[in-house]
Symmetry: C2
């Protein structure tokens, strides 16, 4: 969850994305909105919301569906769509059930309908202005990226610290100075901030984005950002991804080793005391900083 999900220690908020549970029952849960909303912290009412994990998958389904639509396909079964999305059909059906019942028994789903419903659920029927901070290699990549999704997530602001970069248009948009984040974000109604700066400045940048009214942040910097409750942060961490892959390689090798020898083996872990190769990982951790 890629990660990302939310780990919420306790607080937890009351998510309320009407699930359209039972076809009928127009309000039903509106009731708890009463008590829950006011009952302070411990009010872990958790109305029936869409599971975090399911939300992430909905985006994947959406892509698969778009692809199908492009191919002119108008109907799909859960089985087919599941395959295209890389999940099993039971999970797919369950996920879709969270947003309502838009399938036809014995037939499947109408591609266009499903696309529309998922878009609605994900809030994609509205535009989300994006600001990219840190126009280094990655920032350039993001900014240049064909004007970003021509629609849906228009990049409307770029920021960097470097004076030589300020004013220079990247991907069609002139770079502004970091000092103007608050002002510019308000002006252009930026909703999503993408932090592609080195770790050092990230928190500061984050604070400014928040001050500028940004409520969603996609963080590429290798640090844990501190943000107020109402701000949502998702982190993309290349180093972590690589390390997870590394773990799997290691595990696999171990398995093989286990299977093969079975005896001999000098005990797990590398020789030497316990400090492994600290220096090695150190650089790995810095890996993304200048990405």
């Amino acid at each position: 969850m890629t990660a990302q999900g939310a780990d919420v220690p306790e607080g937890d908020g009351q998510a309320t994305a009407r699930t359209a549970a039972s076809p009928r029952t127009p309000d039903a849960n509106v009731a708890d909105a009463n008590g829950a909303a006011i009952e302070v912290p411990a009010a872990r009412e958790r109305a029936r919301s869409i599971p975090e994990a399911a939300v992430a998958r909905l985006a994947v389904y959406l892509r698969a569906l778009s692809s199908l639509a492009e191919q002119g396909i108008t109907t799909v079964s859960s089985e087919e769509l599941a395959t295209a999305a890389g999940v099993n059909s039971a999970k797919l059906r369950k996920d879709l059930s969270y947003i309502g019942s838009y399938g036809t028994r014995g037939v499947g789903y109408e591609v266009e309908v499903l696309i529309g419903q998922i878009e609605r659920t994900l809030g994609l029927t509205r535009k989300h202005s994006v600001a990219v901070v840190g126009i280094g290699n990655l920032g350039h990549a993001l900014a240049n990226y064909g004007g970003f999704p021509s629609r849906g997530f228009p990049v409307s602001a770029l920021f960097d610290l470097d004076d030589d970069l300020v004013g220079v248009p990247v991907g069609g948009i002139p770079v502004s100075h970091i000092d103007d984040i608050v002002e510019v974000c308000f002006e252009r109604e930026v909703t999503i901030g993408v932090i592609a700066t080195p770790a050092q400045g990230a928190q500061e940048v984050c604070d400014r984005l928040v001050a500028g009214g940004v409520t969603c942040i996609l963080n590429f910097a290798p640090i844990v950002l501190q943000v107020p409750e109402h701000v949502e942060v998702r982190k993309v961490d290349l180093a972590v991804e690589m390390q997870i892959l590394s773990f799997h390689v290691a595990r696999r090798q171990q398995e093989t080793a286990n299977a093969v020898d079975g005896a001999a083996s000098s005990d797990g872990g590398p020789p030497g005391g316990g400090a492994g190769l600290p220096g090695e990982i150190d650089s790995a951790n810095r890996m993304v900083e200048r990405l």
Copy 2:
């Protein structure tokens, strides 16, 4: 909800796409009946039983620890480290318990020791050659990235389709042609392949990487890769991340709206047939393709 916690998804949340993952898992550990694994299992057995989610977090702890080490701090309590990593201490302790008991009651953990143990667990005591395929904006960013982690994950090969690019050194390494993936990967013993190509060519590239002996793939292309059982795929999908953020914005707005009005619930779904704005999302789905 927590904002912040975004990182470290639970289960899957974020980006893992284990394409051919067989939901199977017969009787995983249960130790291989036949001896062999009874003395050593400490590390081995343990390794395979670490929850996916915990593995991802270990990488995060590692970074926090490295940071502490740099500051000259030699000891940390679970509370402190947890804060630095953005999780709660209970979870952190549980995670650490998966790799062994390296703390001192009443005191905390020795930074260096923990670093060493986590590195070992993640298999970071060995180098993992990386190949980047698709030297577009993102590919450049990855390749240029200071030679990638000077150690740990050296980029040892770059590939692209463009003849004008072949031979040109990027980040110090000359770009090879995609047709030579298999050969070069074997030659340079590439373990991790990073796919930064448009969606179209991704599967093909993936197949070649696998043929070249690559067992881990980090996929930036917006498609679900088909791979054999023994290959591990992790997916980083910008479009998905953005859409998840979008979802949270939408949910939040709904909550506010709900709280305010509270009546007049027009029931789910936009009027009309229900197709939403297909065109809009379409572009969003293509968003990453040329990243």
